[in-house]
């Protein structure tokens, strides 16, 4: 070691200390979590082969203020032109037409993207728009974008994305309000309205072996655990429960953190961490590991939750996008404010980009943006693409990105 210690105390300690530092720091064991290497490798290789946003379309990457002006102008122009707000020309009763391109609906490098807003559905895959403003009560694209699940009336049907062929149809006990594929596309959870109550069902991905999980649940989209063996949902009494698809047992999670009537929940991508939110509070529960709950407040409003990393998630509510980092112990957070109410949120599979539904003045638009970096400094939202121009819809928007 050639570096000399500058304190001049004449002690032999520094060289001994330096030798020990070298040994200790060089022997630090790599104790990464089991999937950290593979996850980082996949993300790095994707980043290496994908064109960087700056090279790809620098002209589109603008700060939120400028984009807002553009979007507002777009909305005003559409309204003034009297364009029909919806088009039902593309349906899945016949194969989709490859020539009908609406590239704006599909984020860059996405395998599929879907929007459900105000009872209308938009679904796009590369080179095809499967649904464009078609009336549907629920839609869900399977992982890998192999099948599109769509609901209308008392009918649920699975459609092959590549051919548009209806491969399976199911009659349900009532209108289907929400459908969710498990991460391994072997199961489906769906909510249906029967006798004024929402019911939760769990069935195979073939639309068979339908199992009634709970007769009285809240109208909140359930969330599958990463291993597809359990699904979390909100009961009608506001309590959160986890249904085991293998044992059939429902386990109620004891209340905590002062949450009342949760309106959003989402499992983390690779663990049993479950984020639950009501209109003002967030709770993160370790449903499998038993770690202490993490409680936090978020901006008032109907929340949307999207995990971007095993321990990082966004919660959007009101005009605020809060990013949380789950630490042990504690929770780090930063905030991005947008000039419209966020009514829908999802994330790209690699967690690098997000899509937001922004609502103001009774109209909603959907944009793709880069996920803001976790930083102490206020970071503007970089909007990359306008996915859906302003449409007259004011309620919650369901977004899905494959």
């Amino acid at each position: 070691m050639t570096f000399g210690n500058g304190n001049g105390n004449g002690s032999a300690m520094p060289s001994e200390l330096e030798r020990r530092l070298e040994r200790a720091l060089n022997d630090v064991p790599v104790e990464a979590s089991s999937d950290a290497h593979d996850r980082a490798r996949a993300a790095a290789l994707t980043a290496a082969v994908a064109p960087a946003p700056g090279r790809w379309s620098q002209w589109r990457v603008v700060i939120v203020a400028a984009v807002t002006m553009v979007l507002v102008t777009t909305g005003v122009t559409l309204a003034a032109s009297g364009e029909r707000p919806f088009s039902d020309t593309a349906t899945l009763t016949r194969p989709p037409q490859p020539a009908q391109l609406h590239t704006g609906l599909l984020p860059r490098a996405a395998r599929a993207f879907s929007i459900l807003a105000g009872g209308r559905a938009w679904v796009a895959v590369p080179h095809r728009v499967l649904l464009h403003g078609a009336p549907r009560s629920a839609i869900a694209v399977s992982p890998g974008a192999v099948y599109l699940l769509e609901a209308g009336g008392r009918r649920l049907r699975a459609v092959a994305v590549d051919t548009g062929r209806v491969v399976q149809t199911q009659r349900t006990g009532g209108p289907v309000t929400t459908a969710v594929w498990s991460p391994f596309p072997i199961r489906i959870a769906y909510l249906t309205e029967v006798g004024g109550h929402q019911q939760l069902h769990d069935e195979w991905g073939t639309l068979s072996h339908d199992y009634l999980v709970d007769r009285h649940v809240a109208a909140v989209a359930p969330s599958w655990r990463w291993d597809s063996l359990a699904v979390a949902y909100v009961r009608a009494d506001g309590r959160v429960a986890v249904h085991s698809a293998s044992s059939g047992r429902n386990t109620v999670i004891p209340p905590n953190c002062g949450l009342r009537h949760p309106t959003a929940l989402a499992f983390a991508p690779t663990s049993g961490l479950l984020a639950i939110a009501d209109r003002t509070r967030l709770r993160i529960v370790d449903t499998t590991g038993g770690a202490p709950d993490v409680c936090a407040a978020h901006s008032p409003g109907a929340p949307s939750i999207a995990w971007v990393r095993p321990r990082q998630l966004f919660v959007a509510a009101g005009t605020t996008l809060l990013r949380y980092l789950v630490l042990r112990p504690g929770l780090g957070t930063d905030t991005t404010t947008v000039p419209a109410r966020i009514t829908g949120l999802t994330t790209s599979p690699d967690g690098r980009r997000i899509a937001l539904a922004l609502t103001s003045g009774g109209s909603t638009r959907v944009v793709a943006a880069s996920a803001p970096p976790f930083s102490e400094q206020a970071t503007p939202l970089h909007v990359l693409q306008l996915l859906l121009p302003a449409r007259p819809a004011a309620g919650p928007v369901t977004l899905s990105w494959q």
Binding site: F3, N5, G6, N7, S11, M13, P14, L17, E18, R20, L21, E22, R23, A24, L25, N26, D27, V28, P29, V30, E31, A32, S33, A36, H37, R39, A40, R41, A43, A44, L45, A47, A48, V49, A50, A52, R55, P292, V294, C295, A296, A297, R309, P310, R311, Q312, L325, L327, R328, P329, G330, L331, G332, T333, D334, R352, P373, F374, S375, E376
Partner: protein
């Protein structure tokens, strides 16, 4: 067979070679993880820091000067990500968090653990130079270039960090004598 240099791998990866990118990743992942772990002081945070750093580095391969070494460039990104996350702790919500990162060192001797825990209590700026100097073997001049600091500042931080560590050692010895 001669292993390709980092510069060659960067060039091939930038031209679209997935194999080259994978080789570059495997060559540097463990070192980057150790750096993230020791700078952040958090095992669970290191996974995310390294993933973020590799994503940023690999997305920017086109801007990398292939005549320069790859590792210092990557390590600087790792350090910046780690410091960003540590700064974010000032705005913690929810549970209380300890003033210094928890160590949770496993599979290390008691003596090394005490030293690593002492390193974890240094300020982030001092911790960074200690890890770069003694963990990765960079010279003060190299650290200065990497962090865009005067070499004198790096030497000063190293000296103060070593002073801090010696003081921790003395405290530990006094505690041991009492017990």
């Amino acid at each position: 067979m001669v292993e390709p240099s980092d510069g060659e791998l960067v060039g091939r990866a930038h031209r679209g070679s997935r194999d080259a990118a994978a080789m570059l990743f495997e060559r540097h992942w463990a070192g980057a993880w150790r750096l993230a772990r020791t700078v952040s002081g958090r095992r669970d945070m290191a996974d995310d820091i390294v993933q973020d750093a590799f994503e940023r580095a690999f997305a920017a391969l086109g801007r990398f000067d292939q005549s320069r070494p790859f590792a210092p460039w990557l390590h600087r990104i790792v350090i910046n990500r780690a410091l960003d996350l540590l700064r974010s702790e000032r705005r913690l919500v929810g549970l209380d968090v300890a003033a210094h990162p928890s160590s949770e060192w496993r599979d290390v001797s008691a003596d090394d653990r005490a030293l690593l825990e002492a390193v974890a209590t240094l300020t982030p700026q001092r911790r960074v130079v200690i890890v770069l100097r003694y963990g990765l073997g960079y010279s003060p001049a190299e650290i200065a270039r990497m962090l865009e600091l005067p070499t004198g500042t790096v030497n000063s931080r190293l000296a103060r960090a070593l002073d801090d560590l010696r003081e921790r050692e003395r405290e530990r010895e006094r505690d041991a004598e009492r017990t």
